[in-house]
Symmetry: C2
Subunit: 497 residues, 2 copies
């Protein structure tokens, strides 16, 4: 086991190095450096793959797997072997020729998707998407699955969860969301929409964003904030967590929303146990659990009343134009305005999940072979009409809007909504376990929540699957009920339903 | 050969990755990340070493070396094999146990040197330096040499040059410098010293530095400027060249001098042939030649009359305080004021090389076993009195001032002065070959000089040794005469000698 851990540590050092190179590529690299950079990263990634699949490593891993199966490993070592075996056996099942074909197809498809979206013409993208769906169906066959081939794809992003469970939970959620949205649309409450625009010098925005991050618990001695077109957080190790945001001069919420979201991701990464770096016990569980952290901070906190009762006066002081004249109650409603729109990434808390459910249903059916790629625009638009009550005016605002499918990321979308569900279920427990949580938040004491998340979630690394963690922390299986209650309470108040 | 080049390319990709990690460590890394970062870099460096000394690589290299010896390779391939063999055989001669001992000794010694300097007590550092000198003498034995063991150390920094040649050239230079400095000290010209201080907001300094870099030919699409305590330039590849500078609010020349110096290094790196990246033909020749580029821009240009005839009006406009009131002639004299001082890094163009010669003489004698480490303070102070006419008040301002010896970098110092010598000899040729060079500079047309450097120096990579390049470009062997003439002309005018 010690020998294995040493080999593993080497692999994690390699991954960290690649992480830094990726981050640098997004944040620092001079434009002309891009071609050679891909080769530098590709070279390291190839080495990493060679290490991970080397006969020496495989021998060690197989020995330990036998020990594990025989119940001869302690809990921690069992987790390490279980998780590495999971990844290793998946990688072993995919022939190099297949991996290459998929990589080349998606690299090309992303460019063509960009063109199709620009020209608003699904037909341009159609042959590529067909090829990708075909390859992902093949991937599912190669990897193997119990019931749905979609299980095999989901497993990359949300391990151990299955399609059936998601279907049930999402269906319940949809059952609530569609009529709830219809009710909101009929509400007489009119929310002022464009009152938050102003002139916010970037330097001042950076300072304000950083001060919020610090207040929420981000450790700048163990991480950074930078700027990039698409905000992201990259994990190098718990003492080097780097996140980015973006700025618009006339809209400070363009940066703040991203910043709080990424801070949520970063707080998770900074909370992982450093002494377990180099093993799955020092790693985050899944995309869904990661997203639960970002969305808890971005939405439950960052669009919450008490959060802003603390921060809004600071914001008014820092930016008297325009906030000096805007009443808190108007401000709070505006940042929580619900309005069906075509683009997922611009959606509010309520409609966002309908965007996801729609995508999940479509990609599941594609992988299960129930629908044909040719029919996507029609299916998309029909569902959109049904869920949002809106007619999609163009494929660019419809089926072509997201990059995921062109990149081969099928099975990824559900993790966004899973994040919301996990977040509300965790938060409901936190409210029970932390005395006066909301009052503390109003006073700017975010450390209670953070410590609770650290103790209950972050510190465990991959010790538990997402499913088990939810049960362990909340005493129940994952359910859509907490999120439904959260939305109902919050938005019934706002829209006076 | 093709197979070998492929292996080599992998090795260079690895080096580039390590370069980015080093740069990131200096410029971006959050403080808490430092321990784990050393391990990440150490791990990659170990892999790199393994690749470079792998049996597979060695087999290929030995085959090619035979072909080369038999004259069966073309010029370019010959250069590649010659340079890789040079490096490889040196690495092969040093047992891993020796390399480790040296690395551990110098890591510890640097900390102890820092302490000794702070406490101004050479005795604290003495045992460490003894150990280092002993190890470096051993290194010379292991590597082998023709005449002086110092040759073997010099070879790491300035390949193919030998101690005897340097001794002769430096001795000539010293023969000029000592009496010339004495004459300057007796000059009646009094240069105002503190007139350049002012209040220079950092943001404005950054803009001014960047605009200078751009004007000199630095390509920001293929490089970056950042900030770090000790300015440096790191080579990743010719389309990703990163340099740093530093700022002081009250002294803009603190940044400008470093910026121009590092720009000189960067222009060399950006001028290396991209299509030869991954071979010695895409690499700089030696530290001395590198320094010739930085010092040509920093000194010959950046302390020159015509350079500032172009830039000074811009500076006066940007910073009317204090430059609005300072006459050009006073400004020019002030930036070229000669004054013996104790610290090498603060020295002017004239005295700088006496600092180097002193160090060269001492380290050569140490390695040749002519003097004992115990006697260093006395020897240092005696020489200092002889060359500068000053009594060294403390070891911190004397023998303890530089980091090099504690880091095991013996043989490095001469490259600084070699840089000055190469620079003046190159520049003298450039003046002959470029029509109206100085007039063009006065008009801000730096591209003529840059193109000349590109064509005559940068583009060749390691094709020629420094020695051969000098002959090829200037038609003569390296000589101290050009630098002596340069100093004599310039400073006789300034000091009215």
């Amino acid at each position: 086991m010690e020998k294995f851990k040493q080999e593993l540590l080497d692999i994690y050092y390699f991954s960290s190095a690649i992480g830094i190179l990726h981050w640098d590529q997004e944040v620092n690299m001079p434009v002309k450096g891009s071609e050679i950079r891909s080769k530098i990263i590709g070279n390291l990634a190839g080495e990493l793959h060679d290490k991970f699949t080397s006969p020496k490593f495989e021998r060690l891993l197989r020995q330990l797997k036998q020990k594990w199966a025989a119940g001869k490993l302690n809990d921690e070592d069992s987790c390490i072997v279980r998780e590495i075996w999971r990844e290793f056996s998946r990688e072993k099942k995919l022939p190099l020729s297949f991996v290459k074909e998929l990589a080349e197809t998606t690299a090309r498809a992303q460019t063509i998707w960009g063109e199709a979206r620009k020209k608003n013409d699904f037909k341009i993208f159609l042959p590529e998407l067909k090829k990708i769906v075909e390859l992902k169906r093949k991937e599912a066959q190669l990897v193997g699955y119990k019931k749905s081939p979609y299980d095999a794809l989901l497993d990359t992003y949300e391990p151990y969860l299955n399609t059936e469970d998601i279907e049930m939970i999402f269906s319940e959620l949809k059952g609530f969301l569609v009529p709830f949205l219809a009710k909101i649309k009929k509400s007489k409450v009119r929310i002022k929409e464009n009152i938050l625009k102003g002139d916010f010098p970037i330097e001042k925005q950076i300072r304000f964003n950083r001060s919020m991050m610090e207040k929420l618990g981000f450790d700048f001695a163990a991480g950074r904030l930078d700027e990039s077109t698409h905000p992201f957080t990259i994990f190098i190790n718990p003492v080097d967590v780097r996140m980015t945001t973006r700025y618009k001069k006339d809209n400070i919420f363009y940066s703040i929303n991203s910043t709080i979201h990424e801070t949520g991701h970063s707080l998770y990464e900074q909370g992982l146990p450093l002494e377990r770096f180099g093993t799955p016990l020092g790693e985050s569980i899944s995309l869904g659990i990661h997203e639960s952290q970002s969305r808890m901070w971005e939405n439950v906190m960052g669009r919450g009343e008490n959060f802003w009762k603390y921060f809004y006066p600071k914001m008014q002081k820092e930016f008297p134009q325009p906030f000096g004249k805007i009443k808190f109650s108007d401000f709070y409603k505006t940042i929580n305005s619900v309005k069906p729109s075509f683009i997922r990434t611009e959606a509010d808390e309520v409609t966002y999940n309908l965007h996801i459910i729609l995508r999940f249903e479509i990609e599941k059916d594609l992988i299960e072979g129930v629908i044909a790629v040719e029919d996507l625009p029609r299916i998309w638009n029909d569902k959109f009409k049904e869920y949002f009550g809106l007619k999609v005016p163009s494929d660019a605002l419809g089926v072509l809007q997201d990059v995921h499918w062109s990149g081969g990321m099928i099975g990824y979308f559900p993790t966004y909504t899973l994040g919301n569900l996990y977040a509300s279920q965790f938060y409901a427990t936190a409210e029970k376990e932390i005395i006066n949580l909301e009052k503390e938040i109003k006073k700017g004491h975010f450390e209670h929540l953070l410590n609770w998340l650290r103790k209950n979630i972050h510190i465990h690394g991959k010790m538990f699957s997402a499913e088990k963690l939810v049960e362990k922390v909340t005493g129940e299986k994952l359910s859509s009920q907490y999120f439904i209650d959260y939305l109902r309470n919050k938005y019934s108040k706002i829209y006076e339903l």
